[in-house]
Amino acid sequence: MKILAFAEQRNGQFKKTAFEIVKAAKTVADQLNGEVIAVVIGKDIASIAGQLGGFGAAKVIAVEDARLELYSTTAYSKVIADVATAQSASILMLPASEMGKDVAPRVAVKLNGGLAAGCTMLTVENGSVKAARPVYAGKGLVDVVVTTSTKIFTLRPNVFTAGNSTDSSAVVETMKIEFSDADFSAAVKEVKAASGKKDVAEADIIVSGGRGLKGPENFAMIEDLAGTLGAAVGASRAAVDAGWRTHDEQVGQTGKTVSPSLYVAVAISGAVQHLAGMSSSKYIVAVNKDKDAPIFSIADYGIVGDAFEVIPAITAEVKKLLGK
């Protein structure tokens, strides 16, 4: 039994999810007497492929081509499906990142398999894999099984822990795939990075602000605290709808669903749709003037007080702690 793990890289560096996926695949493989084969796609990436051995990959297939430097939904899905077929993998695991979510459905159709998306837990029962996945942005969870012989899972980033790399090594093989122009019928030509901005979907710590901040200028103190913590800035729907922040920062049912290790909610009352998007965070801190705000019902630590006084004080304390 073989599990194929898609290890996402950008600019020749693995995303954190690459290690999470390989490790999660290894955990499942161990219970099924199987092994993990990882696939890396890009240009000049064979040199980093070996890193995946430390997280449990027995073998890594590197598929290199100059045209694969940037993402292409059509070409990447072909590569993953071809590698899965060549390696006789019956389970595939990909990250539920913007790349993984985009490529996985195409791979599923090519391999005639079912896709369980955005899973947060995988268990093995009687020799088969069962997945738990949040629905309604986390207001509910469903336990699902995939009924096809080839089973595909995307795993939510930041939920599965990769742990530390061990000194196990992996066999690295390169695989040559022939492409036609049609394989690149949709292709990324350019990546525009938001300058130095951390994304809420990937961040380990998020500091979010809401309507209680009264205006966009007051996000400066949110950015300050976030900068001190190395965190991403998030926002409630109210703050985004008011035009104070951009939509890519919105956390909630119509924004991003996040699971950081620390979520700091500042002047956010906690509407159902917001709580849905962040309640699976490992630790939640709430700062709000209203002691009855719903956000306190899910907060691990709360300060019932004025954010304009409390947040700068927290920033100062964190700086002291970190020696900044």
Partner: protein, 248 residues
């Protein structure tokens, strides 16, 4: 241009999830349903595309009779025709996509729009499934779109940035917030929508590939600790985060 837009009818964002008696889906009692907000952005982009190139916009939804409410909303916004692929049975994304793709093929769409995900099952896979089933390109999570003769440039949101994608029609575009500001239906639009027929078709039965065994509520959180009521609590909070939670 023949423009298709697929829409889903979903519980609104204020819905509190209560598990239904079969233990597998939510209890719909007292739940307000609406046009999936990402699909609404898809409808707007379909209408804008028609304004630019002419042709018609057909809006399609798969589900039971209640989906007609969502189809009427799309008609009121300005879609020309509505089709209900009538099947009240529970389907997974694969089974939904299969029937929508069959319809798209029969219709011969030049471009297909839908939301980047439905806010009920958050699967985010129907657009990609349809594109692959039809053997055409797709771009997901699109925040900017420029269609020219037969080809297009789309900007999609990724972690910490955007990707600029070049592709050609026919294609599937899945809409993300920011792509446009969906219009409000005009009074005339609402009146016209009441007169426009909704065509009903029965899609082929398709077996689901991802089967729900049970739906449950996420485990409840233990009551948290109120650390204080002003700036003097900051030091204690930071100490707890550092020593107890060990997250900073």
């Amino acid at each position: 241009m023949k423009i298709l837009v697929f829409v889903n009818h979903v519980p609104d964002t204020e819905t509190k999830v209560k598990i239904g008696s079969d233990g597998k889906v939510i209890d719909p009692a007292g739940v307000n349903y609406m046009l999936n907000p990402y699909d609404e952005i898809g409808v707007e982009e379909a209408l804008k595309t028609k304004q630019q190139f002419g042709g018609e916009v057909v809006v399609v939804s798969l589900g039971g009779d209640p989906n007609k409410e969502t189809l009427r909303k799309a008609l009121a916004m300005g879609c020309d025709k509505a089709v209900l692929l009538k099947d009240p049975a529970i389907r997974d994304s694969y089974a939904v996509a299969r029937s929508l793709a069959d319809y798209a093929k029969e219709y011969g769409a030049d471009v297909i729009f839908c939301g980047k995900q439905s806010i009920d099952y958050d699967d985010a896979q129907v657009g990609g499934l349809i594109a692959e089933m039809l053997g055409i390109p797709s771009v997901s999570v699109v925040v900017k779109l420029e269609i020219k003769e037969g080809h297009f440039i789309a900007e999609r949101e990724i972690e910490g940035g955007h990707e600029i994608v070049h592709s050609k029609l026919p294609a599937v575009i899945t809409a993300q917030k920011g792509l446009n500001e969906p219009r409000y239906p005009s009074l005339k639009g609402i009146m016209d929508a009441k007169r426009k027929p909704i065509e009903e078709k029965v899609p082929n039965a398709v077996e689901s590939r991802v089967v729900t065994e049970v739906m449950r509520k996420p485990p409840a959180k233990a009551q948290g600790k109120i650390v204080g009521s002003d700036a003097s609590a900051a030091a204690e909070l930071v100490r707890l985060l550092h020593e107890e939670a060990k997250v900073i």
